[in-house]
């Protein structure tokens, strides 16, 4: 490999040709600040608009300052990253950005977690000159079922645009207008609700400021908790336990399952259950569906469409309803674990308690923002009473715990309640890319072959590669499995399905890069993809520690079918646990 030698801040470094100054500096332990640049290396995601100009440095012989995020190293270059000229320029740029930025840090939802705020602090900005002359641009706020857009706080880093277009290929957001009126917005500056947005929340996950945040449902949950007529039940998604700790100072990848359960109980939830239980249930339903379609397909039944696509991710469901409505009979009809849980809680469990579903409030803790939209879908309610009343993100839960004066670190581990709190390791790994299909394989293999699996760890299905494939031997029958995470990767597999080229029997899709562990509702990774790797490792660790690792071995699942549901994919199961999809291709609505 061709390399170049250069000097940065009087230190020599040798790097491969094409390396940017910023990356070369990092090797020397020089951390050049930036606002717009973002590199999620392990996920192959980079945002490099060279727009904020915070990362500038002086290059000997060059007239102007160089943006180090997008300037490549050259042989013999001499770079200075903290001369008076550089520091002044950086400060001036920052002051310009701040002169057009609201000064409501004290009450901003991003306060304490805001990259702009941290940068102002790091650069030692103590006043913002020129404010009296600066015209503040103002935009109306946009409230969607999942995401709030407050474009007054946008600094045009365009990370959201990269996520929405390059990574997710959703194309809901684009830079529009110019000058002071420049903003990132949907087509015709319509509200997000009328755009092609899937509510995956990846724009929120990367926004450095308070311009993109989630709808906060904590006040509604609090009101339900203090209402003596309501029985409040909570479910926690697998990916939450692997990330919640980060908000309380734990190292990324620390599992806080027991403490999370204790905190939820302390918050006043009457029953603390686990979405992992519903994940096991999903596997039984989805696995049965897979085997049914597969068997019919092998017998030559043309109506049995393959591949089967997983349907537990609501961002993904929104995506194919928008972009692939012609394929809406291909995904599994199984509801997502969140909705399966809600349906069972408000029937089976409400019956056990002897209460009316209207007196039960189901709250879900999710790593996801699309779940907020999903639980509001009309098909998931009975007589206007939703199966899941409120969905709050990992971040909202962390804030709620802090508001309630609960010191998570000192809590003793507690166990989930029965009967909807017991889960297998298969349910746990739902939270990471490849996990759903691995869980499905564990069950489908044993059901199909009648044999016990020698090895439950399918490492060939794991990893962070955007599109992965593997062939699993089902006792002589090779099953081709495809995995995609990130909607842009999913689109590639879907295009093949549409054109009839796909050779897969089953495909798992998760909308967010990394799966739910990288969800839009998780603690912010601030561009560090190591955190996402650590969270995945944590889930696989929890899986290994579980006495039961296959969904169909979960005794509470068996009991649920015996006492209540009947057969998998049976009539009752179909009524409660399955759904159907819609053609939601957006027609542009013109505002009058």
């Amino acid at each position: 490999m061709e390399t170049v030698k250069l000097i940065i801040d009087n230190k020599e470094v040798e790097v491969p040709k094409g390396t940017t100054i910023q990356k070369a500096a990092k090797l020397l332990g020089i951390d050049i600040p930036t606002l717009c640049y973002m590199d999620l290396h392990d996920l192959n995601i980079e945002n490099k608009p060279g727009g904020c100009r915070i990362c500038v440095a002086e290059v000997k012989g060059r007239r102007n300052l160089a943006p180090t995020c997008s300037t490549r190293c050259e042989e013999g270059m001499v770079v200075s990253t903290h001369t008076v000229r550089v520091l002044n320029a950086r400060r001036t740029v920052m002051e310009f950005i701040l002169s057009d930025h609201p000064k409501d840090c004290l009450v901003c939802p991003k306060s304490g977690n805001c990259e702009l705020q941290s940068m102002a602090h790091r650069l030692g900005i103590r006043e913002i000159p020129g404010q009296e002359y600066a015209a503040m641009s103002t935009y109306r706020k946009d409230f969607s079922p999942s995401i709030i857009r407050d474009l007054d706080k946008c600094i045009m880093c365009r990370r959201c645009e990269t996520m929405c277009n390059t990574v997710q290929t959703v194309g809901a957001l684009s830079a529009v207008n110019r000058g002071f009126m420049a903003a990132v917005a949907p087509a015709f500056e319509q509200n997000l609700e009328f755009s092609t947005c899937t509510y995956c929340g990846q724009c929120v996950a990367v926004c450095p400021t308070g311009a993109l945040t989630e709808i906060n449902h904590v006040p509604s949950v609090l009101r339900a908790l203090v209402d003596p007529t309501k029985t409040v039940v909570v479910q926690t998604a697998p990916a939450v336990r692997a990330a919640l700790g980060e908000e309380f100072g734990y190292e990324p990848g620390t599992l806080v399952t027991g403490k999370m359960v204790a905190a939820l109980r302390a918050l006043g939830f009457k029953y603390v259950f686990d979405t992992d239980f519903a994940a096991d249930l999903t596997i039984i339903e989805e696995g049965t569906e897979l085997l049914d379609r597969l068997t019919r397909h092998l017998k030559g039944d043309k109506t049995a469409r393959l591949p089967i696509l997983t349907s537990c991710c609501p961002g993904w469901v929104n995506f194919f309803e928008e972009y692939f409505p012609d394929l809406k009979d291909v995904p599994s009809t199984s509801k997502s674990p969140q909705q399966m849980f809600g349906a069972i809680a408000k029937t089976y469990f409400a019956d056990i308690l002897g209460i009316n579903r209207k007196d039960m409030v189901v709250v879900s803790i999710m790593p996801c923002l699309a779940k907020k939209y999903e639980c509001q879908r009309p098909e998931f309610s009975v007589d206007n009473n939703p199966d899941v009343d409120f969905s709050i993100s990992t971040r909202e839960l962390a804030a709620f715990i802090k508001q309630a004066n609960i010191d998570l670190k000192t809590l003793k581990d507690e166990e989930f309640d029965a009967p909807l709190g017991e889960s297998s390791g298969a349910g746990v790994i739902f939270g990471t890319t490849g996990g759903v299909i691995e869980a499905a394989v564990r069950t489908a293999y044993e059901v199909h072959t009648g044999k016990k699996l020698e090895r439950v760890d399918f490492t060939e299905l794991r990893g962070l590669e955007g599109v992965r494939s593997a062939t699993i031997d089902f006792n002589g029958l090779p099953i081709n499995i495809g995995i995609a995470h990130g909607l842009g990767n999913a689109r590639k597999l879907l295009d093949d399905v549409r054109s009839g080229k796909s050779q897969f029997h089953a495909i798992e899709v998760m909308a967010c890069p990394g799966g739910c562990i990288g969800g839009g509702g998780q603690p912010l990774h601030h561009g560090n993809s190591e955190i996402i790797k650590e969270r995945a490792a944590a889930l696989y660790r929890e899986d290994r520690q579980k006495p039961l690792r296959k969904s169909h071995d979960n005794p509470f699942i068996k009991k649920l079918y015996e006492e209540f549901l009947g057969k998998p994919n049976g009539e009752k199961a179909h009524h409660l646990l399955h759904t159907h999809y819609f053609d939601k291709k957006k027609k542009i609505m013109i505002k009058q």
């Binding site: 277009n165 194309g171 684009s174 015709f188 500056e189 009058q592």
Partner: protein, 160 residues
Amino acid sequence: MSSIKIELRKEDVDFIKGVCDSFKNDPQELINVLHTCQEHFGYLPAEVQEVISDNLNVPVAKVYGVVTFYSFFTMTPKGQHPISICLGTACYVRGAEKVLEEFKKELGLQVGQVTTDGKFSLSSLRCVGACGLAPVVMVGEKTYGRVAPDDVRNILKEYE
């Protein structure tokens, strides 16, 4: 932001498709496609952008982003008699701005707007290459030179 709702006729859609085809439906040709379509329709309403987006396989948000970035593109239709006031250096120093103000006052319009009867629209431009006649006003294809604010009413009268 356009507030006009239009319904494209089949031949309009076919025209846009034809334009996109002539540029091989290449997303890189978006600006050229927009250019040709604006020449044809006089402006770029949302519906036209939507059809372009479909054909070039570019998100409609991106198309809108480009339309709003370049001041040449417009989402409001031009009037029957589009009025353009030159604000280039020569015209500007000889009082073009006062002429513009007068047009604004007479028509009750801002730059980029069109009268409710669709008769006049108002825009500004940068230099038509007739600096000797500064300040210059164009109405449709017709050029008026050495325009003073007092002339504005008479110019408009010609089109009544």
